[in-house]
């Protein structure tokens, strides 16, 4: 089936829109967490949200709502305990990470019958995205985009040197808490696409791909959005063609794009070296060495 014809299907249009929206929010948030070295913290938040999924099943509330509450609480707790240096940062992360998973497992076990869509929470399922999901994603993407556009420099300067930012009167604590909440919400809404286990890839691989070619914060964001979107659409199509899980396929494509990027960088670098060597050897040139 041709790629364009797929747009006749509602599920594909939804999936395509979800891919676009999440590429934008993950592109922005991912750049923030990668450059600020908060990837592991984000891993903790992601897995902690599984506790909310379990509680959601047990009490009959939408699992994603439960996940959102758990993710935000885990994010704020991690941030707070890290600031106060009560425990080592990585230990706090490991504890929230496993505690969330534990709560999730217990409550899913206690829920009578079987838990529908459990696998989609763990591994993602972009083709089952509903219009309600899309609406939430749209609101979040707009919020993240507007927040980063308004406070771009503030966020950049805090991320680079928090202490200095404080001396300039920037409300660092408030910004940190707002940002970690946005990180948590972005993670939860991306669960629909990549699932709890695979989500970190959406927040890290596009950024590192973009970072191969630029070292500007803003350009890493743009590059990540483009890479993320490209990979999601290709992944979606490939998963449809080969009838394999979409989330995993998208991540596989992300890594392939990253490796292609590395290869391209390697080739251009060596090409430039080769050119400059050739110029130096050119007869008639004097003074060079």
């Amino acid at each position: 089936m041709e790629f364009i014809e797929l747009f006749e299907y509602g599920f594909f249009r939804n999936a395509f829109s979800a891919a676009l929206l999440m590429s934008i929010s993950c592109g922005i948030i991912g750049t923030y967490i990668v450059t600020r070295r908060m990837v592991f913290i984000s891993g903790g938040i992601t897995h902690a949200s599984f506790g909310g999924v379990g509680i959601g099943y047990f009490f009959g509330i939408p699992p994603l709502v439960g996940a959102a509450i758990f993710a935000v609480v885990a994010a704020l707790t991690t941030e707070n305990l890290t600031r106060r240096k009560i425990l080592r940062n990585d230990s706090i992360i490991a504890i929230t990470w496993s505690l969330g998973m534990a709560i999730g497992i217990i409550f899913i076990y206690l829920t009578p019958g079987y838990a529908p869509n459990l696998m989609s929470f763990l591994f993602g399922s972009i083709i089952t995205v509903t219009l309600t999901d899309l609406l939430f994603m749209l609101v979040l993407t707009l919020a993240v985009t507007m927040f980063f556009m308004t406070f771009y420099r503030t966020i950049l300067y805090i991320s680079f040197d928090e202490q200095f930012a404080k001396t300039r009167g920037i409300p660092v604590m408030l910004m940190n808490y707002l940002l970690i909440i946005l990180v948590a919400l972005t993670i939860v809404l991306s669960i629909r696409i990549a699932g709890i286990i695979l989500i970190l890839s959406l927040l890290t691989i596009p950024q590192n791909t973009a970072n191969l070619f630029t070292n500007r914060f803003g350009r890493i964001i743009t590059g990540s959005i483009i890479t993320g979107f490209l990979a999601s659409v290709i992944g979606l199509y490939v998963s449809y063609l080969l009838n394999i899980p979409s989330g995993a396929t998208i991540i596989f494509i992300l890594v392939v794009i990253y490796l292609l990027g590395r290869l391209l960088k390697f080739i251009t670098l060596n090409y430039h070296l080769w050119i400059s060597e050739k110029l130096l050897k050119k007869p008639g040139r004097t003074g060079g060495s």
Partner: protein
């Protein structure tokens, strides 16, 4: 008598039940140039952080007679993540940030100021480099530019002479001397000898603070060893010219 800028009264400060500074008092006046020396872990950086309002003292008072945002700050450079994607221009611009309105700073007016400052510390050509591509000395220049761009009234420098070559070190002190005409300077250094020719007074910090006012440094003695910084740092003089602490 020049104006008082800030006053620390019987300050004790530390981290998690560990006292680093005890009963420290210090007054900073306009056009002071105080060298803060002492062993590693003696509390030099903590003192600066208290002054900057980055940590709250456990005991004691600080009184500010200037706004806290009128204090320029150059932190130790080894604390930065070299892979962080930020350019020299952006770093220097962050020195102009003002609270939550940072995002709304007008670019055009800032740019002129940034260009000017970059020129004055000799890194204009590096303005579009990201900080990972800079040498230690270039990074120090960038940080100095960031600290002074807001025209502070007090400049606080934490080990600005680490990772720099001799050439820039002399240049740095020349710049500081020029700045000192209009602002006061607090300079932390682990190396007493290097800074002595330029400072007006010394504060020895090792949990407690001992202040040696300017008249205790014999400028005549220092003039003999005037130019090459290194000779002074290896000589005995710096240890002899200040009085013993009265316990």
């Amino acid at each position: 008598m020049s104006k008082l800028q800030l006053e620390l009264e019987n300050i004790s400060a530390g981290y998690q039940n560990k006292i680093v500074l005890e009963d420290v008092s210090l007054s900073v006046y306009e056009q002071d140039f105080i060298g803060i020396i002492g062993p590693n872990g003696g509390g030099k950086t903590t003192l600066l952080r208290v002054i900057l309002g980055l940590i709250k003292p456990i005991h004691g008072n600080i009184r500010y007679f200037i706004s806290r945002q009128e204090i320029g700050y150059l932190p130790q450079v080894n604390q930065f993540d070299e892979q962080f994607p930020i350019t020299v221009h952006e770093v220097v611009h962050s020195g102009l940030s003002k609270g939550i309105r940072t995002g709304l700073l007008k670019h055009k007016s800032c740019n002129e100021k940034i260009e000017e400052i970059l020129d004055s510390v000799g890194i204009h050509s590096l303005r579009n480099r990201s900080i990972g591509e800079l040498s230690g000395g270039e990074l120090q220049r960038t940080m100095l530019a960031r600290a002074i761009i807001s025209s502070p009234r007090l400049l606080v420098l934490d080990e600005p002479n680490t990772y720099v070559d001799n050439k820039f070190e002399i240049e740095l002190y020349t710049i500081l001397k020029r700045l000192n005409k209009t602002l006061s300077i607090l300079l932390v250094s682990h190396d007493v000898g290097t800074i002595t020719p330029y400072i007006k007074s010394i504060a020895c910090v090792n949990q407690k603070l001992h202040y040696h006012p300017s008249n205790e440094i014999s400028t005549e003695q220092l003039k003999i060893y005037n130019c090459p910084i290194e000779i002074i740092s290896h000589g005995q003089i710096p240890h002899r010219i200040i009085k013993d602490h009265q316990q």
